[in-house]
């Protein structure tokens, strides 16, 4: 999209920057989105956005400077700010930005049929409402949004990469008496989301959780849904695999490389090349070609995630893990499609406490791993069917230690943000009753 238009000023920017610094990197994102938001059962708000972001990095003798703006016409000011910023940063070992390599140009997470059309957003909302209609719950709010964006990366070494991304995202909230239900779905491909299912599940959980009973404090066999598991994993476990956190002493795994840190059936890896997955990309936010990273193989910690600056600093190789937050954000270590896998089995054949969601996972301690959260939409489950709902209880434990006691993984996985994960079973999980 418009590469030949964009290229002129990007080339000018790089040439101008090279007069003052060793290397220049330009990251430019353009996108549009449309959404329809519900208030109860009616669309109350329709939104379109047109976003753009320019992020510039400059490197001069190991000093990295950066700045960003969403006004690309002001690239000269932004470049000057980046160069000024570089003068403040501490010089670090640096081996250069990547050279260009030949990569397939076919997109991994782009649906050419996805259009940012308000009518489509309205139809998706309508289908969610239809899905919910089979249950007596009231809809409180919901949203359907569609987005497309193009990302351009260019640097002093001749990298000129461009990629296209698309996304569709759905959510619905329902209430039945004093019981709430929430469901969502997202994908890069319009045809991969199931709006009726989102509606059905949100309304089902609201209704099925009504009139829950209290439970006594104790250790329970618990199954965490992918959503509940993702909340704990994403807030605590995943950040501990970040190479910068590891080497600067902010990770519990700092000295655990090669050690068993999880049940031997567990595999965790980043697969940036997974077709149709939301985070898929052939190059990371700095232009390093991406590849699969095995963090945990058979329960043993194998690798951490690195971007260029952390890799050069600690004498490692970039794992192609640089990502950028939002439009024009600076690169930082992250992941593309973080996958939890392992031996899949039937985990719902015995009586277990099923926890669909948790409240307050962001307050877990990211260093020690300790958490205590309120559980939501929790049920005693027998032979895979939702039986007695639990009114309210807290769940406490340690996210790191929990991974040594995982007793099983469900056969199905689902994407929750950039994590792709199954339900997990824990044989003895502390629940605190009211």
């Amino acid at each position: 999209m418009r590469w030949w238009v964009a290229v002129d000023w990007i080339e000018d920017l790089i040439r101008e920057g090279e007069k003052s610094v060793d290397e220049v990197e330009v990251f430019y994102v353009e996108g549009t989105s449309v959404s329809a938001d519900l208030k109860q059962k009616k669309v109350n708000l329709a939104t379109t956005s047109r976003d753009c972001g320019l992020g510039i990095r400059t490197i001069q003798t190991g000093r990295i400077g950066s700045s960003s703006t969403n006004d690309p016409d002001k690239w000269r000011d932004c470049l000057a700010a980046a160069i000024a910023s570089g003068k403040l940063s501490t010089p670090l070992p640096w081996g250069g930005l990547p050279e260009p390599v030949s990569l397939p140009s076919s997109p991994l997470s782009f649906d050419p049929a996805l259009e940012c059309d308000p009518g489509i957003a309205r139809d998706l909302v309508q289908q969610m409402l239809e899905g919910a209609a089979g249950h007596p719950a009231d809809i409180t709010s919901g949203s359907a949004s569609l987005s497309v964006s193009s990302v351009t990366l260019a640097n002093s070494h001749g990298i000129r990469y461009e990629s296209h991304h698309s996304g569709v995202s759905l959510s619905l909230e329902a209430i039945y008496r004093q019981s709430t239900g929430y469901e969502f779905d997202h994908s890069s491909y319009l045809g991969d989301v199931d709006p009726r299912n989102v509606g059905e599940k949100a309304a089902f959980f609201a209704c099925k959780s009504a009139d829950g009973k209290d439970i006594p404090t104790g250790d329970y066999p618990v199954v965490l849904s992918p959503l509940a598991y993702a909340e704990l994993l994403g807030n605590v476990f995943v950040p501990a695999l970040n190479g910068r956190s590891v080497h600067s002493g902010r990770s519990r795994f700092a000295t655990s490389l090669g050690e068993s840190i999880a049940d031997p059936r567990i595999q965790m890896y980043d697969d940036p090349l997974l077709p149709r997955a939301g985070g898929s990309t052939r190059w990371d936010a700095e232009g390093t070609p991406t590849r699969r990273i095995d963090f945990i193989r058979d329960g043993v910690l194998q690798s951490f995630a690195y971007d260029l600056r952390t890799a050069y600093r600690y004498d490692k190789k970039s794992t192609g893990s640089a990502v950028r937050g939002g439009f024009g954000g600076l690169p930082a270590i992250g992941h593309h499609n973080f996958i939890i896998d392992g031996k899949r089995e039937q985990i719902l054949d015995e009586r277990v406490m099923y926890v669909h969601n948790v409240v307050g996972a962001h307050t877990a301690n990211p260093m020690s791993g300790e958490f205590s959260v309120e559980i939501s939409n929790a049920f005693w489950m027998e032979d895979g069917s939702f039986e007695e709902p639990v009114r309210s209880a807290m769940m406490s434990g340690n996210v790191f230690d929990m991974h040594k006691d995982i007793a099983g993984m469900s056969k199905e996985s689902r994407a929750v943000g950039s994590l792709i994960l199954p339900s997990i079973k824990i044989n003895k999980q502390r629940l605190i009753g009211k």
């Binding site: 109350n44 670090l92 024009g328 406490s396 605190i432």
Partner: protein
């Protein structure tokens, strides 16, 4: 414009300066720029909203084209929206003691390094300090010829210390953010405190979960007010039917000593001179002496729900406004800290917070304390590691039985609908009976 009931445009330009120091290394420092606008047009049946990056103010045909596109978009809406009548007006932005723009980034960086350096300790494996300064120029106009412009500067710092011993990793985290100007001078004690807490937590123990008496410090009690009452009183949630406080105006849900307020006009971190819809801001007593008194509203929820005060619409630059809290607090009571501990007798004293979360429809909230102490015979004894509490909106407030007279506000950010806005929470020390504590301790 035919068919248009109302429109408003909120244009925000500004710059963000940040410094990140990690174990003595200036990882990054510098300034970025932004320019964002949001145009909202109200049709007979709902809102058409256009979010525009890099907006150039325009008039005449160009502006009319924008209005037209928003109207077209509103064509898919189907709910009749009315707007409440509200007072307009803007408060002066409190003057800054020292404008951060008058301080060079080199000096800021040196001062921040001093705070980070103060977290040095043999058991501290990582020290990290961040400075953030955000200056926004806001310009608001609407179809009723209201027009406001103001500039706000928010700045502050965080310092983190991570202590580690034999695989036990603990953290101390201190922060200070303000609207009153440059605040990095003479703040080294924050670095030392972060380190002292991280190190002390290495010897703290996990608390055993269950019901107990809890004394909450002003910061934690502020988070409690925010999660237990603030969100559930937001008019948009009441309107949607996702708050247990819906239809309960006038109902007594707490003790006489309990008054909870949201006040965007207060000169604290959540201050707004005017709300994001041009409505004048005003102190709103959500709970007055234990009774539900007023909901927080924007113009739409005021018209739909009533029983409250508008002026609580807030937005990130370029985003549509939502009903939000600003400065939320429990009013002072008349108990002294000593009386609160004496009355607690045996329980826990909890301090600090990494925040909380609420499901307002279900009426259940969770909030976290960074650390605390066992209280035995009215005295603080053994240190305990981070724990969380959960509660039920409709019953927990009755269990606040004592409020101190030492209210203090703490700055932070609050997330809702994908938007994060600056807020402050506060309270005096309070006594909470039958607190449900989630801990993994076993003894």
């Amino acid at each position: 414009m035919p068919g248009t009931k109302y429109y408003d445009l909120r244009h925000v330009t500004g710059q963000v300066t940040h410094i990140d120091i990690d174990n003595g290394v200036v990882e990054s420092a510098g300034t970025s720029f932004f320019n964002k606008a949001v145009l909202r047009v109200l049709n007979r049946t709902g809102w058409g909203v256009i979010q525009i990056d890099n907006y150039t103010p325009c008039t005449g045909r160009k502006f009319e084209d924008l209005i037209e596109s928003a109207q077209k978009l509103a064509g898919i809406t189907e709910e009749i929206v009315e707007l409440g009548n509200v007072p307009h007006g803007i408060l002066p932005v409190p003057p800054m003691k020292e404008d951060p723009r008058s301080v060079s980034i080199e000096e800021k960086s040196a001062l921040l390094a001093g705070i980070e350096e103060a977290a040095r300790h043999p058991l501290v494996t990582n020290r990290r300090a961040n400075y953030i300064e955000r200056i926004e120029q806001v310009h608001f106009t609407d179809s009723s010829a209201n027009e406001y412009s103001y500039e706000m500067c928010r700045s502050g710092f965080n310092v983190l210390a991570v202590a580690s011993r034999n695989g036990n990793v603990q953290m101390g985290y201190e922060r200070e953010h303000t609207i009153h100007g440059f605040d990095l001078r003479h703040r080294q004690e924050y670095g030392k405190k972060a380190a002292d807490i991280a190190v002390a937590l290495l010897d703290a123990s996990a608390v055993k979960g269950g019901k107990m008496r809890a004394v909450l410090d002003p910061e934690l009690a502020g988070v409690f007010a925010h999660e237990a009452v603030g969100h559930a009183s937001e008019g948009d949630l009441i309107h949607e039917g996702s708050s247990v406080l819906k239809g309960r105006t006038g109902e007594k849900i707490g003790n006489e000593i309990l008054t909870i307020v949201d006040d965007p006009s207060l000169s604290e971190f959540g201050f707004d001179p005017v709300d994001a819809e041009g409505t004048a801001v005003k102190r709103t007593e959500i709970i007055s002496r234990g009774v539900i008194s007023a909901f927080l509203h924007n113009r739409e929820s005021l018209a739909a729900v009533g029983n409250g005060i508008a002026g609580h619409a807030r937005a990130m630059p370029g985003e549509p406004p939502l009903v939000r809290m600003s400065n939320t607090f429990i009013e002072n009571g008349d108990a002294t800290e000593a009386e609160i501990f004496a009355e607690c007798k045996n329980g826990i004293f909890l301090k600090g917070s990494r925040g909380g979360q609420v499901d307002p429809g279900r009426g259940i909230f969770q909030f976290n304390a960074e650390y605390g102490y066992l209280v035995e015979n009215g005295e603080c004894t053994k240190m305990i590691r981070d724990v969380s509490l959960s509660g039920e909106i409709l019953s927990t407030l009755h269990r606040i039985t004592l409020c101190g007279n030492d209210r203090k506000m703490s700055p932070g950010y609050c997330g809702k609908g994908g938007q994060s806005v600056p807020v402050s929470d506060g309270a005096p020390h309070v006594l909470l009976l039958d607190a449900v504590v989630g801990g993994s301790g076993l003894d």
